[in-house]
Symmetry: C2
Subunit: 314 residues, 2 copies
Amino acid sequence: MNAKDETDQRHDVQVELIAVVTAIIDGQPVALTISRGSALPSGPFELGHRSLQAGLRNWVEQQTGHPLGYVEQLYTFADRDRMAEDHARRAISISYLGLTRDENTEYQSKRDWRSWYGYFPWEDHRTAQPPVIEQTILPRLRHWADEAGAGNREERWQRVALCFGLDGRAWNEELVLQRYELLYEAGLVPEARRNREAGRDETVPGNQMAVDHRRILATGIARLRTKIKYRPVVFEVMPPVFTLLHLQRAVEALAGRPVHKQNFRRLIEQQELVEETGKTTAETGGRPAKLFRFRPAVLVERTVAGTKLPIAKA
Amino acid sequence: MNAKDETDQRHDVQVELIAVVTAIIDGQPVALTISRGSALPSGPFELGHRSLQAGLRNWVEQQTGHPLGYVEQLYTFADRDRMAEDHARRAISISYLGLTRDENTEYQSKRDWRSWYGYFPWEDHRTAQPPVIEQTILPRLRHWADEAGAGNREERWQRVALCFGLDGRAWNEELVLQRYELLYEAGLVPEARRNREAGRDETVPGNQMAVDHRRILATGIARLRTKIKYRPVVFEVMPPVFTLLHLQRAVEALAGRPVHKQNFRRLIEQQELVEETGKTTAETGGRPAKLFRFRPAVLVERTVAGTKLPIAKA
DNA sequence: TCCTGATATGCTCAAAGTGAGTATAAACAG
DNA sequence: CTGTTTATACTCACTTTGAGCATATCAGGA
C-alpha cells in the first residue's frame, strides 16, 4: 500500500497520554498510581479517542470509576529516556494534570492513591521544615557543589540556596520541579543513577518511580501550587459541602505550607467564593462550624477572572 | 515487514511543530509569519531532530537567520479542524512561544514580521480603548447574546462583559484567547464562517489566518502577557543596551496598555533587574537618558525566582 | 544669552492590601 | 460548671500600589 510508504516518510510517532491525577484523602494530597506506586497511569492515544483530553478522560475514568473534574495539559515530551537510539521510530508523551474528589468508595480497591510527600518528603512544610532537608539533602548538595570546578562551585550553591530558601530567602513552594531537577542533576535520586553504581546511601529519601514519572509528578505539583493562587481550582478536590477549615486544610495540603487562619477566611469571604448552606457541623470538635458550598456563579466568573489565596506569591 | 503492521496497530500520528515567534520592531509587537501574513511558521517533527525544541529551533533559525533566545512550549492540539473524519491517520500540533530581537538586518527580507494588532485590533489599549470595540464588536456581540434562548442570554452577555471589561470591570489584557474564542463562537471572525455564507460585513475587523493559526497566536500573546509580569522575559526582546523608557515601551507594546512611568522605574530599579552602563544617549529628545543593561546575575536568580511589573494583576 | 519644549529622574502621599495578633463565642468532656 | 477545643470577629502596624508634583538636563530658537 502506498499509504504505508508515506507513513514512513512522514516520520510518524507514537503518542502516549500520561496523567497526574490528584485528590485529597484524609487531609493528604495524593496522586493516582499504578504498579504499586511506581508509575503514573498512562495509555496510548488511540483511534477511538475523539480528542486528546477525551482519550485521557476515557481511561482514567475506566480506572477510577468516576469522572475527572478539572483537566489541564501539562507538557509534551519527546524521546525521554530513549534506550535504543538507532530506533527509527519515536514516541512522545503528553502529560496532564487532573483533579478529582475520591467520593466513590465502590471502586476504592481498584485505585492506588499515594501521598505526594512519599515521593517528595522535602516538600511538606505544613508543620515544620522537614528534617530531611537539614540532615541529608543540604549536606549532600553541599558536597555536590564543592566537587565542582572552582568556577561552578558558587553557581551550584546559589542554585541550592534559591531552591531551598537559604540565606534568609523564603521557602518557595512552587519550585517543586527545580528542586527535583537539582537533586537529579546532583545524582541524589535513584532515577539518575541507573547506569552508575547503585550506592543507595548516596541518594536522598523519597520513593522513586519508573522512567521520568516522578519528574512529571513534580511538574504537576508545581503547576497546581502555582494555579491554586489565582484560579479557584481547590474546589475541584473538595466535597460539595465543607467547613472553612476543611478548605484551608486542603489548600495547605496542596501548597505544602501552613496558612494564617483568619486571613484565609477574610480572603475567601471577601471574594465571595463560597456561600453558607445554613447548616453547621459539630464533627470538628469544638464550636460547630458553618458549612459552606462553592458559589456556583463564581464558576463562570472566576474561570476567566482571578482568585487570591493568602500564600506568599513567589 | 512486521514493524509496519505494528505501526498501524499503534495508531501512530504525524507531529507538526508550530511557532509564535515574537519581537519588537519600531515599538510594535510583531510575530513572524509566512505566506504573506496568513500563517505561522510550522514544520514537521523529523527524524533528524534531537528533540522537539531542537526541531523547532532548527527551522526557525533556518528561516530567520538568527537563533531564538527564549523558547517555551504553549500547547499540544490534536485533530484541529480535521476535514475528513474517516481518515484513519491523525495529526497533532505542538505549539511554541519564541522571543527574539530582530538585530540581524542581513536576512531582513526573508522575514515577514507582522504586527500583533493587525490580527487583533481590539487588543491594543496603549493610547486608548480601540474604537472598534464600541463601534463594531460590542453591538455585534450584543446581537449574538440577544439571539440566544432566554436561558443563555444573560450568560452570554456576562461573558462579553468579563472579556471586555464592561460594567465597571477593568480591562484585563490577559484574556486574549478568551476574547478571540468569544468572537469565534459568535461567528464574528472569518475563520469561524468557513461553511457559512461569507457575510463579510458580519465579521469584525482584523486579519485572518489559515486554519487555527490566529488562535495559536492569541494563545502565545496571552501567555506572554501573563509571563511578563513575573519572569524577566521582556529582556529577550530588548537590545543589549537600552534606556528605561525603551524598556517601558516594550512592556507596553506586549501588554497592550500604558504603564505609569515613575512606578515602572521604581519597580525595575528596586528589583535590580538592570544596571547602568555609565553612558547616556541624547537620541531621545530631551534630557539625555541613562543607558542600562540587563543584570546578568539576575538571569540565574530570577529564572527561578520572580519579577514584578506595574501592570494590574489579573 | 535666555526662554521654551521635551524628556529624564527624584520624591511624596493616600488608599489598598497583607501579615499577624487579640478577643469573644459556642460546643463537648469530665 | 470548668477546662478544652474549635469557630469567628475585630484590630493594627507595615508594605505595596497608584498617582501626582517637582526638579534636572538637554536641544534649539528668539
